[in-house]
């Protein structure tokens, strides 16, 4: 396990229970207009404790995290409040004092280490830097360097310090980020979604490292994340943010077992479970942007429990059941929101011949082979999940199916007809029946075209379709994805990520396909938007009898959407079968490891 810290560090820093960080009434505004970005935030973190800061994108959590170092992005100002670090107010300090605290007493672990490490500097230079620029750091830099490398379990293969960031894997880069932060033995560490984009196994290792370092060094930590399952296992206190305010703050156990604010309840209801198939419920509507925040409670417009007073006054934090909640109805008897998760109805197994049959598919991306002898079947109205870590060949498989990759051999049959390599060589009628939905809805829609034009475009390939008929079908399909005809004239820029992905789905559906290939379609979305997309796809699967190939790295999602699953490991299928059988009783060690490493809502790390 983690190495023992030396006596000096112990006597200096491990004072259990001592309050390290205290935030009082913190407020941040946009520089020009003075609109609220973050307001009325108060909390404290003790030595050795980890506080989780959760919320959807746009809730202000990164802004708040940076403010804890007395730092703001351009265009945002800290206007109110105090940030007391071991009693000293960061916000009252001169720039030079702030600088001497940053990296020394309070450190930051960035969201994307690939961007936050300087591509032109060697790892060793970047690791040593914080220790060298802080004059009050006493101790041998080389010795300390060796310590943190061991602490963060950075495999020091001799030349690690000589390497450049691009020569490291994502997991290693993140460990370098952690090592940089812990180097000067700070009292407070702010971690901004440090495991986004990492594989579950790497994520688990990084999280374990964070927890060990915090407890052994007596460091207070603030962990920012949108992933509730990750936070559940790591932190002792959780603060849920919405529209720049902390709306629920309390011990992790209490908040997760009995969420009180309707927003917290909604977020938790949207998280898929690894252990059983559940109906996922997303919160409808969008969080308000800074400057567009309504009078009263910001959540009122999306809240199933809203009262008239919620639109008038802003609720103040009240202590209910051991946690602070900003809700007028927090003290009332619990109202059932029907969030109790129902086990999703299992699909009837179809015994008929499979719609899609893939035999001994060997495919290459560039010059290296990434898929080896892949076999799979997809039935009518059935969903096959393809799971695996990044680099396992999932996307290449999808691109072979839809004809975007023609560098393969083997056999792909669709309704008994052969699908040849390359979409240009396939008859239009077959192309129409197999549709692809891309991973990133932000780049999959042409920003210069209206939603109506984007969805209508595939219809131009169908001969003899009247113009009136065409727009009728666009309206119909927009209704099917619960967007409505008034979206026709909007541009992609005006839509949220979840809405964009629904447009992408509508574009695929408009030509009446029989098979949808969905490539990580929810990975760039918040849990709530993800839940809505997953439920939409499942509804379509039943209503239209759609076959589906659902590619994901999120095992919990597989439970909710798919009936059968194949597990890909480095291009080989290591396990295949019914979802329940494979996930509950994995036989391959790789699947077992994926299951064990995936974070769960009901289990500590």
């Amino acid at each position: 396990m983690s190495r023992l810290v030396d006596d000096e560090a112990l006597s200096n820093q491990v004072v259990d229970g001592k309050v390290r960080l205290q935030v009082k009434d913190l407020g941040l505004c946009l520089s020009g207009s003075g609109e609220d970005v973050v307001s009325d935030v108060s909390f404290s973190v003790s030595a050795g404790e980890v506080l989780g800061l959760v919320g959807e994108s746009g809730s202000g959590k990164t802004t708040l995290a940076l403010a804890l170092l007395g730092y703001t992005k351009r265009g945002i100002d800290i206007v109110r409040g105090e940030i007391l670090l071991d009693g000293a107010n960061l916000l009252g300090m001169s720039p030079a004092e702030l600088r001497s605290n940053r990296g020394r007493r309070v450190a930051y672990v960035p969201q994307d280490p690939a961007m936050a490490l300087n591509p032109a500097l060697r790892i060793g230079t970047q690791l040593r830097e914080a220790m060298q620029v802080h004059k009050d750091f006493t101790g041998d830099v080389g010795e300390r360097l060796a310590e943190i490398i061991a602490d963060t379990r950075l495999a020091n293969e001799g030349d690690l310090l000589q390497r450049y960031p691009h020569q490291l894997s994502g997991g290693q880069q993140q460990r370098v980020g952690l090592a940089m932060a812990f180097a000067c033995r700070p009292g407070l560490i702010v971690l901004d979604e440090p495991t986004t984009g990492l594989d579950v196994t790497t994520q688990r290792h990084v999280l374990t490292t964070v927890r060990e370092l915090c407890s052994s060094y007596g460091v207070a930590a603030v962990y920012v994340s949108h992933d509730l399952a990750v936070v559940r296992g790591l932190v002792s206190t959780v603060a849920v943010m919405y529209a720049g305010r902390v709306i629920e703050l309390g011990p992790t156990q209490a908040v997760f077992n009995q969420p009180t604010h309707p927003y917290t309840r909604g977020l938790l209801a949207a998280v898929p479970s690894l252990d059983r198939a559940e109906v996922l419920r997303g919160i409808t509507g969008q969080p308000p942007r800074p400057g567009r925040r309504p009078k009263g409670c910001s959540f009122a417009a999306r809240c199933p429990l809203a009262l008239p007073v919620c639109g008038e006054e802003e609720p103040v934090p009240t202590l209910v059941g051991g946690r602070l909640v900003r809700c007028f109805r927090a003290g009332e008897e619990r109202v059932d929101l029907n969030e109790k998760k129902v086990v999703a109805p299992a699909q009837e197994p179809h015994e008929s011949a499979p719609m899609l049959a893939v035999r001994t598919l060997n495919a290459s991306y560039g010059s290296s082979q990434v898929l080896f002898d892949v076999n799979l079947n997809v039935g009518r109205a059935a969903c096959l999940a393809v799971v695996g870590e990044s680099g396992s060949g999932k996307t290449t498989l999808a691109r072979c199916l839809v004809g975007l990759n023609s560098n393969w051999s083997g056999e792909i049959k669709f309704n008994g007809e052969e699908l040849v390599a390359g979409c240009r060589n396939r008859p239009k009628n077959l192309l129409r029946k197999v549709q692809y939905i891309f991973q990133n809805p932000y780049s999959a829609l042409n920003p210069r075209k209206t939603i109506g034009q984007i969805i209508g475009q595939p219809l131009e390939q169908i001969p003899d379709l009247l113009y009136s008929e065409r727009s009728q079908r666009v309206v119909q399909v927009l209704e099917d994805v619960s967007l409505g005809a008034d979206f026709m004239s909007r541009l992609p820029d005006q839509l949220s990520g979840g809405e964009r992905q629904r447009v992408a789905i509508a574009r695929a559906l408009v030509v009446d396909p029989e098979l949808l290939v969905c490539d990580e379609v929810t990975s760039s979305l918040d849990v709530s938007a993800q839940a809505i997309i997953v439920e939409l796809l499942r509804k379509l699967q039943v209503e239209r009898g759609l076959g589906m190939v659902f590619i994901t790295h999120n095992l919990a999602l597989v439970r909710s959407i798919a009936q059968s699953v194949v597990v890909l490991n480095q291009g080989h299928i290591v396990e295949a079968g019914d979802v329940d059988k494979v996930l509950s009783h994995p036989t391959d060690p790789y699947t077992s490891r994926l299951m064990a490493d995936a974070p769960r809502l009901n289990q500590p790390i």
Binding site: G103, A107, Y108, A116, P119, A120, V133, Y164
Partner: protein, 332 residues
Amino acid sequence: MPVTKVSQLERQRMHPILYLLRHRILSGIVTLFVVSVVVFTATEILPGNAAYAILGHSATPRSLHALEAKLHLNRGIFDQYWTWLSGLFTGKLGNSLASNTPVWALVKPRLINSGVLVLVAGALGTAIGVLFGVIAALRKDSWFDHLTSVLALTVTAMPEFVVAIGLIVLLSTLVFHILPSVSMLVPGVYAWQKPSLLVLPVATLVIVIVPYLYRMTRAATIEALESDYVEMARLKGVPEWRVTLFHALPNAVAPVIQVIGLNFLYLAGGIVIVEEVFNFPGVGQGLVNAVSNRDIPVIQFIVIVLATFYVFVNIATDVIALAATPRRRIGR
């Protein structure tokens, strides 16, 4: 297919800089060969041969034939080309048709003069452009940034002869009389021995090359300063001067080097006009004179020298840019 596989393997084995050098030197040799063929045929195909050009309209057929034989013009075209090409390597460049002096003796002082001009203007322009660009980036939206940006844009809009004439009007004729308006040199005296003659031509070239470099440096530095790694460095408590020097600037080098290279390439061609305006005895003026005199051996030699300079500058910028970008230099 097999060809690309082999070259990929070699690529993995060789150091990327060596690989690039080898590749660029080989293609540079091919380029120069093509240039030599084009220059030779173009000058040979021009109506009327050299003998005719020397003797003029009044030449008798007999004297023409005699001169043609003396200049080897009566031999086959491949033979002539080979003689010329091997002469480039052995130093037998022949004589100028206009003055009947050896080409080398004629061009050498001009090469030195132009070399001094290009080097001084290039070095000064690079220093000023980079310095102003970095300062403007560090003080983005300050009065310095606004002023230099507007100035840079104004100068970009002016051709070099306008700049040159403007400087002459300002510094040596109508307003002040500080500097000579022409840079004539006595034979045997080089430009670096008379610095005052260099001032105006150098100033003109510097003014022309600085704006683009300034704008590129400013943009590249701003991009680096707004990157996540610079933010991270600030969050580590790294002092601002160190952030600029060690974190931002190394990442701005690669695009800036490309512009510095382009500036030197421009200088090699741009001196033609500037030397003409100032009567500066360099290769540019030499080329213009040779063209009007139909002095074919001189034209051919100067063009080959300029082409070699182009190829060399291109290789140098690519190698420096690669050396400054670890991500490209070192594989995973």
